[in-house]
Point group: C2
Chain length 428, copies 2
Amino acid sequence: MMKTMTDELVDKGEAARIAARQLAKVSGGVRNQALLNIADRVVDEQDAILDANRIDLDAGRQKGLPEYYLDRMMLDLERLEAIASDVRSVASLPDPVGEVIEMRSMPNGLQVGRRRVPLGVVGVIYESRPNVTVDISTLCLKSGNAVILRGGSDTINSNTALSDVIRQAVAEAGAPENAVQLFQSTDRQLVGRMLEARDYIDLLIPRGGQELINRVARDAKMPAITGGVGVCHTYVDKEADLDMAADIVFNAKVQRYSVCNAMDTLLVHSTVAPAYLPKIASKFAEAGVEMRCDRRALSLLGPSNGGRALQVIPASEDDWSTEFLALIAGVRVVDSLDDALNHIQTYGSGHSDAIVTEDYSAAMRFVDEVDSSAVFVNCSTRFNDGGQFGFGAEVAISTNKFHARGPMGLKELTSYKWTVMGSGQVRT
Amino acid sequence: MMKTMTDELVDKGEAARIAARQLAKVSGGVRNQALLNIADRVVDEQDAILDANRIDLDAGRQKGLPEYYLDRMMLDLERLEAIASDVRSVASLPDPVGEVIEMRSMPNGLQVGRRRVPLGVVGVIYESRPNVTVDISTLCLKSGNAVILRGGSDTINSNTALSDVIRQAVAEAGAPENAVQLFQSTDRQLVGRMLEARDYIDLLIPRGGQELINRVARDAKMPAITGGVGVCHTYVDKEADLDMAADIVFNAKVQRYSVCNAMDTLLVHSTVAPAYLPKIASKFAEAGVEMRCDRRALSLLGPSNGGRALQVIPASEDDWSTEFLALIAGVRVVDSLDDALNHIQTYGSGHSDAIVTEDYSAAMRFVDEVDSSAVFVNCSTRFNDGGQFGFGAEVAISTNKFHARGPMGLKELTSYKWTVMGSGQVRT
């Protein structure tokens, strides 16, 4: 059957506006019920979801997509159950909507307060992971926002099946199903039009690579969260506990290297470099970490100095500003805390930076002077995460300073309104 | 002497970046001393300031600028003393920088907190009032931000004299004088270039008319506060105390009509309209308020019904979405709270809206459902003001939902960073 020609952006944009207004009146109980329904249906309707996913996977194999990419696209019962479990845990979080942030009685008797309200309509552009469809829908529903999703073309069937399930679950709870909409068009021009759609989208969240994020930062006509790129440092100070520093640096680089809060560059004070570098190098060698070293680190770690097969090569200037997302670390010897701070200011991306030290003043200066979304003393940069900060869930990690910085959870998906309760007051 | 050709935007932008980093390390005591020095010098150096102001006023008179406009440009000793007094009161406010917003101990022993930090460099585009030069500089210095000012060409001499005084006062306190810079160029193209200058400006604040604000909202490549346009409503419910409603509506319209939080449209429930409208009309008549009425209000207020010379004319459709900034009010009779809510949603600008009622449910619904920066029950919309909300000072009133909504004070000129203090923790 022929579809009537329509403009999907305008149609879904207008529907989202209406749904957002309806959702703003829906109680937290109903929004939670919608989430619990989603959790149930994602598992109950596994057949339809997994059939759709198989179509995407077959098409992906035919296109020759790489195995790691197909794995990100893949759903199975275990993954659906994990998704359902995440949805239930978001449902169990306190309702951010309606929370009174502050309330004061003024001298004239006015009660002046601020109350959290939803932002309105959130637009999300993402790539191949179908779980994002559920994660983001859940966080938006919980925070009272309508959402318009633009997923990657490789998972259009999986995303459509999941968004159908979500919409049914939402309607079943008595909330507006258009609170969650997925663009059916996978036309690339749609992204450009979304960036212009101020009238329909109040906040744009790009989840994808550097190119997408740069484009959104440059061209979006509405507020957008840009972040996700972390060139992260750990500085091992001359007063560091070197065993602790080895554990922290190893964890920051190796525990999960494909994420934005993994360490990229290791800075080591020259006083401790001769003792510390061989120590961390031997741990790195076991994990297969390649070390891209400055001249001084190289001379301390030359092939003659390593008992095992160290992967030690000279660093290029570009390495200092690279987010590796791989088992690679830049390594530089510095002569002072100031040199470390300068390096971080010059090459860092303001994401996650750590110092390892037992020196009180060095710790304080590092926390004061490093201008990043999260600054760490004697722990791993990997802790820059909504879950680790007690949010329960996150939509993104912002490196903006405006509105939200660092992990964005439910509260960061809200705005507020001032409420002023009087008994006849006028201004004089 | 010939000035070397330079690019003022690039020069001042780079200088602001450096100054912002220096200012971030300056203690609150030094920042306050800078403010107290400004307060002293603005009065001590009145001769230079008033001489410069006279040059602007003479030029303005020659250009035939209107008297009200010349009055806004004008400085005298009394005004300088009032400015100095405002600066001292900002100095006396608590330091927003470094305030710990929250701090938690996590189960693994990490102490996770959020600490307020300056935004960086604030750009401000404003028009003819030279006091803005001091107000904004003061608020930015107090909140640890560097500021780049772009004032109107009509007051370039006054603004230059004031910014010279401010820069000397800042340097004298031991803070970087480039924390406050004023563009000397009054070239109109400079505004367009400021909108593009993401690398130099972290937050743009336009203070001016609708045209400037629309342009900034559309074209600014960095976060911007847009607001200032208030189409504000007061709804007199069928359960209103009509005397209270008369006082509140009169105050909202008349006490200061040239500001964004003044009432524009009066909505009256049909049950009380016959009793209420003649009452408010006679108060309005005394103050010279013109009432632009819908058909039903008109029939209740026809010339035959008014004892005095009422200024009652039919409203046009455009009147409902007009910010009058004058002694003019739209007047409409509605049949229900729902009709009032619909009117506000359709025509309002999300700025300041009030209900007058003794009905609990009506008050609750109004507060819940009106999506404005501030919502008022039984008091005047004129209270939407940083001073009235206890901020001490404000830079603007935002009708955005992102970052800050409603009055923006010192806290709204800050961001935060996460600080994580550990003792060797790693992620597992």
